[in-house]
Subunit: 316 residues, 2 copies
């Protein structure tokens, strides 16, 4: 049954028939007890992320779940509090050793990551990294995504492209900013003081509010920006709202581009141009990488980069 050892074809077939006739299913708990494996994988996200408007992290989960259907793993999804403390807030499946490995998606407490590392629990980070540390991770190609978004704006004639963003300490956001900046540079569209005038950065969690606030500040410039590249769709949606409130036309007066391609992007009025992040694929790759790590724990840490696609809609 487990395709191990030497069995003659005849015996194999005989047994398979009996299995089918009896509709026999091995009992997982017995198998797990014998193999000392749990057959589970943990999926941990920050509580605020799961309660968010967007389905970003749920989609990553779904990608993992799809991949897990082919192997024999179950995914245990749990959230972790903002003020996580490994001493008291450890997810149950970690406390009771009920998982063979863990996927952490998005911003997660560093103390958790360190705990897993110390326990030698196999894990992979998705869409997050910790500065100065190299862990197994699946990342979005934020730099090229941002670069291509800015490039599209430039090619449609925009000259003064602004940037609005939150959680600037998040590595993904930093990379998007870098793509934005180098995109402008490579087209010589970044004069002295450009970044000072046309950039609104905050370190608070990204939100519509940040988009609204960012735009309202950018619109106090004498020379208004003619395009705004936002660090993600949520922020971009806030930006759109504020631009509309100020009676400016989108995209004629100001174009807006987001990042992520959350479902709302396509339903909004106007429809939001954005950089699509393949969320299901992120989940699938995370699952595959984690499996590789579980099978071979001494593998050196690796990073897999998932590329993005620019989606042009009404807002640009």
């Amino acid at each position: 049954m487990n395709n191990k050892g030497y069995v003659s074809p005849e015996t194999s077939e005989r047994i398979q028939n009996i299995i089918n006739d009896l509709n026999y299913k091995p009992l997982h708990s017995a198998r797990k007890l014998a193999t000392r494996k749990t057959g589970n994988i943990g999926y941990i996200i920050w509580e605020s992320h799961f309660s968010e408007v967007e389905m970003f992290y749920s989609q990553i989960f779904l990608g993992m779940e799809y991949a897990a259907r082919e192997s024999d793993y179950y995914i245990l999804l749990t959230t972790v509090k903002d003020d996580f403390d490994p001493k008291t807030d450890l997810p149950r499946f970690l406390k009771y050793n009920d998982v063979d490995g863990v996927v952490l998606a998005g911003r997660v407490p560093h103390s958790l990551v360190e705990y897993l590392d110390k326990q030698r629990m196999p894990f992979v980070l998705v869409d997050y990294g910790i500065p100065g540390k190299i862990y197994n991770s699946v990342l979005i190609d934020n730099y090229n995504g941002a670069f291509s978004a800015v490039e599209s704006l430039i090619q449609s004639g925009r000259k003064r492209i602004a940037f609005v963003g939150g959680t600037f300490s998040h590595p993904s956001i930093k990379e998007r900013f870098r793509g934005y900046k180098e995109g402008l540079e490579s087209y010589n569209l970044i004069s002295d003081g450009h970044l000072k005038k046309y950039t609104y950065l905050e370190d608070a969690e990204t939100s519509r509010e940040i988009g609204e606030k960012g735009v309202s500040i950018l619109l106090t410039e004498k020379l208004l920006p003619d395009a705004i590249f936002c660090c993600n769709d949520t922020t971009a949606l806030g930006a759109l709202t504020e631009i509309q409130r100020k009676k400016l036309k989108i995209p004629q007066d100001i174009a807006v581009v987001g990042f992520d391609d959350i479902p709302t992007a396509a339903f909004n009025l106007p429809k939001l141009s954005t950089v699509r992040v393949p969320k299901l694929l992120l989940g699938k790759e995370a699952f595959k990488l984690l499996n590789d790590v579980i099978d071979n724990p001494r593998l050196p840490a690796q990073t897999r980069l998932i590329s993005t696609e620019f989606i042009k809609r009404e807002s640009s």
Copy 2:
């Protein structure tokens, strides 16, 4: 350790100390093998529901997960295809008997429910029911929620209150419609032909599009409605968009009220008045009811009704 049988206080304390000293954690797979329980609960939703813009069903999941933390259950989340067939598409945890019970949220394939019933697998339905069948379920008090929403509109002076809705075959939507209708009746605001003129019903899955379409049809009436009660927030957001597109003022010309209180409702422009459904509580109650059923499988099927709260915002 399991608080069973007779143990002298001295022995109990001695053992507890040893447990603490050794940081002993029972191995779940061994326990499960011995007790013949899986320690897992399945959570099944329709694939389209999970990919939706709204977090409705994810929040119900989260409520269950919170409740599960106190007992020793893990929740296994999976989706089921639109054209589900029990012969080929059974979720793995059902196929391999890896759950002690199942929660099904929202609209689910009837063939799945029948399968579970036949297998005598304990299950509870959340926010769904099958006409003519009585199953264990946790339902939203849709009738009173709708009634109170309509009542609030009437009290703010609205006379011609319309209804826009999709998935009319869904029992929850039917109940919301009934609350709407009887609300109007009890204030004598429902003349002959009112429902014919001011009602737009479709049986397609609820969506922004249905809201937009419904409004565009309602606005062809000679006497425009002065309020629209939508079957849920998603539909209401579409309605808002279409009203704005027609250059009518919200709420001055037309008030709009939704149902559910999805996160977007509070962020939209204008902010959407709605009937709040306590999603976490739904999940928690579903978990509790399922536990009762697992402990006592011969319990007659029961329905637990969760009440709602009207939230007045800018759109009414």
